[in-house]
Amino acid sequence: MLSFFQETIVPHFNFWIYVVIMMIGLWSVIAKNNLVKKLIGLSIFQTAILLLYVSLAVKEGATIPVIESQVLAGSAHTEPPAAEGGKKALPVINPDGYANPLPHVLMLTAIVVGVATLGVALALTQMIYKDFGTLEEDEVLRKIKALHDDV
């Protein structure tokens, strides 16, 4: 049991957390009856995906993906300046010293687009409430069915 914990869960704990959060979100999207609660579940689901991507970007002992000023000034490296006269040597950057920037870029835009789509979803929910007087899914479906039966 303990070896399973140490060998399977601990090195992948970020994925376990993401799966658990994703299951919470998915369950509320499927099982909850209230439309606003479904939207909350959708947001939790999205947060799980963001956590998955950002946790993939983590490197042991790395800092944020902003190149440090000492490296840019060249003082962090002892190698001699470039031979060609006058032209300043470009700093040598160790990629393992910085977190992976790509997932951060993708998730940055995903967060903002998630907010925008959530806004549209809330607007639709408000219109549903205005038209049907309820946010419970089964009551809305019953009222839609009654409307069709009348016609």
């Binding site: 993939l56 870029v105 940055l108």
Partner: protein, 267 residues
């Protein structure tokens, strides 16, 4: 009840399948994992290229900003268009433009909407504090936008903060008062102006026969020595465009959602 059991079962099965797959995933914090270092024998990792060459290509230390605004410029431009589209969609879904129902739906609490510093004692402390805080928040947001090349920050983050400062004003004072400063025609127009700034900066290189969003061609316009600084300056312009759109749409979303599209009364 049956539906909940079915939902729980399907969620548990999904989670079990995902956890079974997780055992093959790279360890947490492993610098040699495929997303961080690429596959051995396969294509080189894009993230390593960005980390090694961003400063050489663009003279921007913040790799995230450089990838966002330069290498992946198309992506970011259309993300901004998605945000604009969401704002237009909320306008189309919610906004009530008829004037004939105005007397039928009066503001629920006139004291809240006819807000004056003397007339509304409930909000005097909160309202005054937020009024003082809002310009400071906006200055910090402008710093986040402008300093995005050298520290964490950029157009999206600064734009959201600018929008939040207007939302704070509307929440603490009144929406009507905030709308006199940042009216509906203002924010909808500014949302489009942000996209025009971004796409216009992208179109300029085509003038001299280069590709769309190839900012290196703008070194003549920005009077820089090399193409690297032109790319750096263009990124700032692009971030400003993103910030303007995000700010306007954030406030538009709040104004429409909190008043059910009437832009009167509200929270």
């Amino acid at each position: 009840m049956k539906a909940k059991i079915f939902a729980s079962l399907s969620v548990l099965i999904t989670g079990a399948i995902l956890l079974y797959a997780v055992t093959d995933f790279p360890d947490f914090g492993d610098p040699g994992s495929p997303p961080n270092a690429g596959v051995p024998g396969g294509a080189p990792s894009a993230s390593r290229y960005y980390l090694e060459n961003t400063y050489r290509d663009t003279k921007v230390p913040n790799v995230v900003t450089a990838v966002l605004a330069d290498y992946r410029g198309y992506d970011t431009m259309f993300e901004t268009v998605v945000i604009l589209t969401a704002g237009i969609a909320i306008f189309a879904i919610l906004r009530v433009l008829r004037r004939d129902d105005a007397p039928a739906a009066p503001d629920p609490d006139p004291a809240r909407t006819d807000h004056t510093i003397d007339g509304d004692h409930h909000r005097i402390i909160v309202g005054t504090t937020c009024r003082i805080a809002a310009p400071l928040i906006q200055i910090f947001a402008l710093y986040v936008v402008a300093h995005g090349h050298y520290s964490p920050g950029g157009g999206f983050q600064g734009g959201v903060m600018l929008g939040a400062s207007f939302i704070l004003l509307a929440l603490s004072g009144s929406l009507r008062e905030t709308l006199t400063r940042f009216s509906e025609s203002d924010y909808m127009r500014m949302a489009f102006i942000g996209i025009v700034i971004y796409a216009g900066l992208g179109l300029l290189p085509m003038w001299v026969g280069r590709n769309f969003l190839d900012y290196g061609a703008l070194s003549g316009l920005f009077m820089t020595k090399g193409e690297e600084m032109a790319r750096s300056h263009s990124m700032l312009g692009v971030e400003i465009g993103v910030a303007v759109t995000v700010m306007s749409i954030m406030f538009a979303m709040f104004a429409n959602l909190s008043t059910r599209g009437r832009l009167r009364g509200g929270l």
